[in-house]
């Protein structure tokens, strides 16, 4: 069972929820798809970590063979190619590695080459397998790393996918394989605005979903309002609490310290399992 944890806005508590869900599951796989700033490993502290570099395909052009015919430039829908003074220019940050230019070149002047964009790390934290994607600084997109992570997720175990913030391509790639989406919501106008976008995405992908209301304060909660208005099930609520904040700042998995939070996350996991059986 693959549970994707997303929120729209950053800082709502995705990593907090994903790490603690994986911890209460005991035997689980935690997958950090927030490749621009993966931080789940700070709480899980995996051991025996091995690393594998991730590369993408980029085209290279043989200037001797290139006739400047422009077939590749006109084909590239990502505008990653230009032709100046009969010479092809390639912009790797705009390139989506589709390979179209190599396939179409009538002069066979384009060929496949590789470019490293980051890495995958894997280690073990108790019963939790920790998979982490890391994008190199300055690279334009982490999507190929997320794809690589998706290919390594175990089929049987509980997989908790810690998604990147936002609701764009990297998030879509992260929830693609998920059986269930857990939306983490904080009670702020900004949080609710982005939560609505994340929810729209989850519904577009036709994924079963529920909400975890995080950092709840007494009084009105705009995140709860959104859940009621959109028919999104609220699976659990966590109060705003300084002690929880301290545990997070200290790099601790809260369920290992707080019996209350352990009960909350055990209940949350049980509810998700129940939802999945419906």
């Amino acid at each position: 069972m693959k549970i994707a944890v997303l929120s729209g806005k950053g800082g709502a508590g995705k990593t907090f929820a994903a790490v603690n869900l994986a911890c209460v599951a005991l035997e689980a796989c935690y997958v950090d798809c927030d490749v621009e700033e993966p931080n789940g490993h700070l709480f899980l502290k995996p051991l025996n970590v091995w690393t594998q570099r991730v590369s993408v395909m980029v085209p290279v052009f043989d200037v001797e063979k290139c006739t400047g015919c422009r077939v590749c430039v006109d084909f590239c829908r990502y505008n990653a190619l230009a032709l100046a003074r009969g010479k092809v220019l390639h912009f790797k940050e705009a390139c989506h590695s589709c390979g179209g230019c190599v396939l179409l070149c009538p002069a066979a002047a384009a060929d496949y080459s590789t470019h490293e964009i980051g890495m995958i790390r894997e280690g073990k934290s108790g019963g939790v397998r920790v998979l982490t994607g890391v994008l190199d600084a300055g690279e334009a997109t982490g999507v190929p790393i997320i794809r690589e992570l998706a290919g390594r997720m175990p089929k049987e175990e509980i997989c908790v996918i810690d998604c990147p913030p936002g609701s764009a391509c990297p998030v879509m790639e992260s929830i693609k394989e998920a059986d269930y989406c857990l939306l983490v919501a904080e009670p702020t106008a900004f949080g609710v605005h982005d939560l609505a976008m994340a929810l729209e995405l989850v519904r577009l992908f036709e994924k079963p979903a529920g909400a975890l209301l995080n950092k709840c304060l007494p009084g009105e909660n705009p995140a709860r309002k959104l859940c009621m208005n959109t028919g999104l099930d609220i699976l659990a609520e966590i109060p705003f609490d300084l002690e929880t904040g301290r545990m997070i700042s200290g790099g601790e998995a809260a369920v290992l310290k707080s019996p209350f939070l352990k009960a909350v996350f055990l209940g949350l996991l049980a509810k998700i399992k129940e939802e999945m059986q419906k």
């Binding site: 505008n79 032709l83 100046a84 003074r85």
Partner: protein, 122 residues
């Protein structure tokens, strides 16, 4: 000489546009014939690589000079590879900029901004 200027509209009183790749319109000024044409920038709505596509369009229109307030690294790479001269625009109308350019009062643009401006969607 063909000179390209990014604009917010396709009119004589149009203002120079802050972005080159995302400018809705281009002015195409022919210094030899003293004619001015307005062309819609098809790259403006592109999700990514608008600067590259707009610069390619400028080359295809035969541009030898560009007058812009600022330029991204990618657009600059394409233009400079074709030896297109880039001048820093005066914050004003297309007419004012053409007058200043003709009088030789525009400076070469020295500041280039980093490549893809990151739309998060790729």
């Amino acid at each position: 000489m063909m000179v390209i200027i990014p604009l917010d509209a396709g009119r004589l009183d149009a203002h120079v546009f802050i972005s080159f790749g995302r400018a809705p319109w281009f002015a195409l000024f022919d210094t030899a014939r003293n004619t001015l044409k307005f062309i819609e920038n098809s790259a403006a709505q592109n999700q990514g690589g608008a600067g590259i596509k707009a610069a390619q369009a400028a080359l295809d229109l035969g541009a030898q000079a560009v007058i812009a307030p600022r330029l991204g690294q990618n657009a600059a790479d394409v233009l400079l590879a074709a030896d297109v001269k880039v001048y820093e625009a005066w914050d004003g109308s297309v007419e004012e900029n053409i007058a200043l350019f003709t009088a030789g009062k525009l400076k070469t643009l020295t500041q280039v901004n980093p490549g893809i401006h990151g739309d998060g969607a790729s």
